[in-house]
């Protein structure tokens, strides 16, 4: 399936911290309280070339909101998040962002599969009815949790992009659950994801990202791969954390991974509209050549 976009957006969280988000407060609340800041992030990515924009709803599920006593505002927050994309990025494809609930499934934690399904359905329904074009289900470590999430979202009949967070495990790359890129991709696509891939991933180099994409491609020859790396590992400076991997590096990395078939590129922690702009130029050059 062709999704009609190749470039999504970059980081939301680190952009909001620049705009004054206090650590420990839920960023999804800013959809209601600071809509102009959320919109400015969306707008900056859209202007930089992002064809699809992700709603600021990563933590807007009932478990995460309950940690802040905001569970009753779930509908309101998710609806406002969609409105923020619509008003800031006219014409962009809207991706409804869904993250892990933060609780772990039995036997690792106390979460029962039925309770996970209910939570995913509740957020998914608000996003689907609000008009998102697809779901972006991201930053998962436990493949079972991701598969239950995908399976639940299939009820809404929208494409699902599903990505894992990988980390370096010795010479290999695995999720925290020990899942290899090959297994991860097979599980996600097997559960019904339209596209699969990776996002975030502390300490992962761009070359590790390229090699995990190759591993996924070796078992998933057709589905688009979604890749959203961090802008490197953060350094502590006088003004807080800064990220070292610059936009130029992203551009040359994009050239490399575009040789691996259909790709959907974007960024995670620390990436900025500049990273997106550089990749947008790379994509334009590829299309022209």
């Amino acid at each position: 399936m062709t999704l009609g976009f190749r470039l999504v957006d970059g980081a939301m969280g680190t952009e909001l911290i620049k705009r004054g988000l206090v650590l420990g407060t839920p960023s999804s609340l800013w959809n209601l309280q600071r809509p102009e800041d959320i919109q400015s992030v969306h707008r900056s990515y859209h202007e930089a070339g992002s064809q699809a924009i992700t709603t600021n709803t990563f933590g807007a599920n009932q478990m995460q909101l309950a940690l802040h006593g905001m569970e009753s505002q779930l509908d309101e927050i998710n609806i406002a998040a969609i409105a923020n994309v619509k008003s800031a990025a006219l014409g962009a494809t809207i991706l409804g962002d869904i993250g892990p609930t933060g609780e772990m499934l039995e036997p690792y934690g106390d979460l029962e599969p039925d309770d996970l399904k209910k939570a995913v359905y509740r957020q998914g329904k608000v996003l689907a009815e609000g008009g998102v074009s697809a779901f972006l289900v991201e930053t998962f470590s436990d493949p079972e949790e991701l598969c239950i999430t995908i399976d639940t979202l299939l009820a809404f009949g929208l494409p699902i992009l599903a990505t894992f967070a990988f980390e370096q495990a010795g010479s290999e790359v695995r999720t925290a659950w020990g899942t290899t890129p090959e297994d991860a991709a097979l599980r996600a696509v097997g559960a019904g994801a339209t596209a699969t891939g990776a996002n975030c991933g502390t300490e992962l180099s761009l070359s590790a990202y390229a090699s995990l994409a190759r591993q996924m491609r070796s078992v998933i020859p057709d589905a688009p791969l979604v890749l959203q790396p961090n802008a490197g590992s953060p350094q502590l400076g006088p003004d807080g954390m800064s990220y070292s991997r610059d936009a130029e590096e992203f551009a040359s990395w994009a050239r490399e991974v575009l040789t691996l078939g259909e790709m959907i590129l974007g960024g995670c922690c620390g990436t900025t509209p500049l990273h997106i702009r550089q990749m947008s130029q790379t994509l334009a050059q590829e299309s022209n050549s």
Binding site: G102, P107, D142, E167, T202, N230
Partner: protein
């Protein structure tokens, strides 16, 4: 009873067996210290596998849960026998960060290594670390962060601990984005890359 069974139940993360075997071992009159050592050996073994990338977070989590069940049986017996942890540790995830998997694993590994552990939870402000370290006369304070964005909270917490003058309390930090360089830069006494090495580092730090 073969104490290796206790160790194996922890390594396999078998909660039911870990509890039943601990009860059985005590009923058979095995010294509680020997039961404890066998359980700790299990945590050490799974921790070693984790360090060598032969086991991952899920295996650690179920082992920790099995350890918890066994300790619930064993702890009153240890207390009655006057066997108390030699050292006290305070642990928490720093302000702004709500992640607790790594912190919980380290807490469990420390308990397994016979530290008395006070777990402050997540999103813990610096002053709460200071308060708890003072109240419990902590030998060790452990700070965890998963988010790169919350690493500055570690720095603030260490500054607060230093200015509170708690000479006994050694500070160690850990979490996915943490590097030894960062630990050094913000003045931590120790750094651990994972829950298993957190035990080794903790033992070294409290030994002075």
């Amino acid at each position: 009873m073969d104490t290796q069974l206790l160790t194996s139940a922890i390594v396999a993360g078998n909660r039911k067996d870990a509890k039943a075997l601990t009860e059985q071992a005590l009923a058979e009159g095995l010294p509680p210290q020997e039961v404890l050592d066998s359980l700790i050996a299990g945590m050490d073994e799974i921790g070693g596998k984790f360090q060598r990338n032969e086991a991952f977070v899920p295996e650690m989590l179920i082992a920790a849960r099995a350890m918890k069940e066994a300790m619930a049986v064993l702890e009153p017996v240890l207390l009655a026998a006057g066997i108390k942890p030699e050292f006290t540790a305070v642990i928490g995830t720093v302000q702004g960060d709500l992640h607790d998997i790594g912190k919980n694993l380290v807490a469990m590994m420390w308990r397994g290594a016979n530290f008395s552990v006070v777990d402050l939870g997540t999103n813990v402000p610096p002053e709460k670390f200071v308060e708890a370290a003072r109240e419990h006369q902590a030998d060790l304070v452990g700070l965890s962060a998963l988010l790169t964005t919350t690493m500055p909270s570690m720095k603030a917490t260490i500054e607060a601990l230093r200015s509170a003058e708690l000479p006994k309390a050694k500070v160690m930090i850990g979490g996915a984005p943490i590097t030894p360089e960062f630990a050094k830069e913000i003045g931590a006494d120790g750094f651990a890359a994972d829950a298993a090495s957190a035990v080794t580092v903790a033992r070294e730090l409290v030994a002075g």
